[in-house]
């Protein structure tokens, strides 16, 4: 695994302080920082300002593929092994709706999982991490070269960071 870049890692106890720091960092032109939080928080998400996750497209296309696969499989197999059951037509679409419905959900759900894994992996940035941020702290890691550190450190401290440390 690639070593994370050097930078500053700040720990916050208060959400409004962390949100203030995120906004200030963005105003300074920083975009490559990482925010850690123990639970999802809309204020943080809004301050970071990501667009809606593209995972939903995976859900849509997975669901459509599952539905199409359900109808295609049942119809093709019925004609490939043509045996009349209970006097019903070979390609009886109505009972096949059940199979198509279940496959819509199955493939849609699995595709959503794949989408989540893919996008989390693609948007992953190697960054320093403080284990307290899965407990009760909000963490912000700002990768920055040595000459910019004093300004960033001051920003993080004035916004209310409980601790700011240099990570190399």
């Amino acid at each position: 695994m690639r070593a994370p870049p050097s930078g500053l890692l700040a720990a916050y106890r208060h959400v409004d302080a962390a949100v203030h720091a995120i906004r200030s960092l963005k105003e300074m032109g920083y975009r490559d920082f990482t925010v850690y939080s123990p639970a999802p928080n809309y204020e943080i998400a809004e301050a970071v300002g990501h667009r809606v996750s593209p995972v939903r497209l995976w859900t849509l296309f997975g669901g459509l593929a599952g539905c199409a696969a359900g109808f295609a499989m049942t119809l093709w197999m019925s004609y490939d092994y043509p045996i009349i059951v209970g006097g019903k037509p070979l390609g009886s679409v109505i009972p096949y709706v059940v199979i198509a419905f279940e496959l819509t959900i199955l493939i849609g759900a699995l595709s959503t999982i794949c989408g989540m894994i893919f996008h989390v992996w693609r948007s992953h940035r190697t960054a320093h991490y403080d284990p307290r941020s899965t407990d009760d702290h909000i963490g912000i890691f700002v990768p920055c070269p040595i000459e910019r550190r004093p300004a960033v450190e001051q920003l993080l401290r004035t916004s209310g960071a409980e601790e700011v440390r240099v990570e190399i």
Binding site: H14, V15, A39, I99, I105
Partner: protein, 450 residues
């Protein structure tokens, strides 16, 4: 005599650190009592496996099947366990979409229960078919005989519905567990730390991770919601699509879904009452949670009671002699005891929940949950066995008595379910750390903006 729980004094909500600490503490080293309980469960499971091996060795003759009753305890138990599973998805997915805050403390237990109940249910069609080694014939796969499965059969719909349910509910449980496992990883020590480091899948709670995770979780919940409604509908069509009196009715799908959620909620209470005591999580799973669960039981119980009533009414109103005879037999025939157990446990007892004192009395709720589950097992027994034993031709009617092999396998299924639950409860958080945190506002430095 059971005591009425006193209204709890308002307490400050737990802090984030307390939540992590309290819930991680449930994962410590198990006590001797845990091992004794697990040992007992494994012993019963061994008896069940022994009975199954005996049936496999000797043949299906050791089950009590007597024509025309060729679906007995195994199919009854299959439907029972699939039903139990439903409540987990109701709480974890449907209430999630409704943004119901109280679900956060109880949903993990319910969701784990769902997965283990489907794992148990899935065994029974295989046990029932006898030649377990041919079970893969149920799956459409290219084969030398160039055969494909019959998709017009509700039994095949069942294969797809139950398999989908198992896969989707398991993934939903695992996805929900990831942030929690990461929280536990960061406070654990020893071999547990290694276990959680692997199972947390690199979760750190970054902004990007939450961004994709929340969106994915939302869509999984949106998929799980129609799934839960479809699975028990499909199970009900195993019966409703045939022309057996007592089965061939359009009310079956909603009737089965309501019954499934009803029995599942009762099982959640059966599991939560000892769990909150043993793990000392009374602060998180409060009387309010039980009150809400009891209200849901009451609602679904009313639907089930209505379905019982309307079944009898329609049998009379239809004017169909076979339907009338079937329902008369149900109430006053050979199996009257099973029908009345079902009616009393499911049709009458839940009305006690109209009284808030009973809804908030935990020992009473626990007792009631056991009766409801007993009643729900008998409901499936009545629908399946009693209807089959009394069809059209008097000379083709029969009486089925379950054999010891079937009872032992039934007991083994409970042991299988509780074994998984016990193993899960001691190794993974049974109360969601992240979601409990989510409903508690993060501390603020300045005045909160509302």
């Amino acid at each position: 005599m059971a005591t009425i729980a006193k209204p709890e004094a308002p307490r400050a909500p737990p802090t984030y650190a307390e939540i992590t600490r309290d819930i991680s503490a449930t994962l410590g080293n198990p006590s001797r009592g845990y091992y004794i309980l697990l040992g007992g469960v494994l012993l019963v499971l061994a008896c069940g496996v022994g009975a199954l091996l005996y049936q496999v060795r000797v043949g299906m003759g050791v089950a009590g099947y007597t024509p025309p009753v060729m679906w007995g305890v195994y199919i009854t138990t299959f439907v029972f366990w699939v039903g139990i599973a439903h409540c987990g998805t109701l709480i974890s997915a449907i209430l999630y979409l409704f943004r119901s805050a109280w679900r956060t403390a109880v949903y993990r237990t319910a969701e784990a229960m769902t997965v283990f109940a489907v794992m148990t249910a899935g065994l029974f069609p295989l046990i029932h078919v006898g030649r377990i080694w041919y079970a893969y014939w149920l799956i459409p796969y290219p084969n030398q005989r160039q055969l494909w499965v019959n998709f017009k059969s509700p039994l095949l719909w069942d294969v797809f519905a139950v398999t989908t349910y198992l896969i989707v509910s398991t993934t939903f449980l695992i996805v929900g567990l990831i942030p929690d496992v990461a929280s536990v990883r960061d406070v654990a020590t020893g071999w547990r730390k290694k276990l959680y480091r692997i199972t947390a899948l690199g979760w750190r709670g970054t902004d990007q991770q939450w961004r994709h995770y929340l969106r994915g979780y939302l869509y999984l919940a949106a998929f799980a919601t129609p799934l839960v409604l479809s699975v028990h509908s499909v199970v009900s069509w195993d019966f409703a699509m045939s022309i057996v009196p007592g089965w061939h009715t359009t009310i079956f799908a909603p009737y089965f879904v309501a019954g499934a959620i009803y029995s599942g909620l009762a099982m959640v209470i059966t599991l939560l009452v000892p769990l909150r005591k043993v793990f000392r999580v009374e602060r998180y799973i409060t009387v309010e949670h039980f009150d809400n669960l009891a209200k849901l039981i009451l609602l679904t119980g009313l639907i089930v009671g209505y379905a019982y009533l309307i079944e009898f009414f329609m049998a009379w109103y239809s004017g169909n002699a076979f339907e009338r005879a079937s329902f008369w037999n149900r109430a006053f025939g050979d199996y009257w005891w099973a029908s009345w157990t079902m009616l009393i446990c499911n049709g009458f007892l839940p009305y006690l929940l109209f009284f808030p004192k009973i809804r908030r009395n935990i020992p009473a709720l626990f007792l009631l949950s056991l009766f409801i589950n007993l009643g729900m097992w008998f409901e499936r027994f009545v629908i399946i066995v009693v209807s089959l034993s009394f069809e059209y031709e008097p000379f083709a009617m029969g009486h089925y008595t379950p054999s010891w092999v079937e009872w032992t396998i039934l007991a083994g299924s409970f042991a299988w379910f509780f074994m998984w639950f016990l193993l899960f409860a001691k190794n993974f958080p049974t109360v969601s750390i992240t979601e409990v945190k989510e409903i508690i506002p993060m501390p603020r430095k300045g005045k909160a903006h509302t």
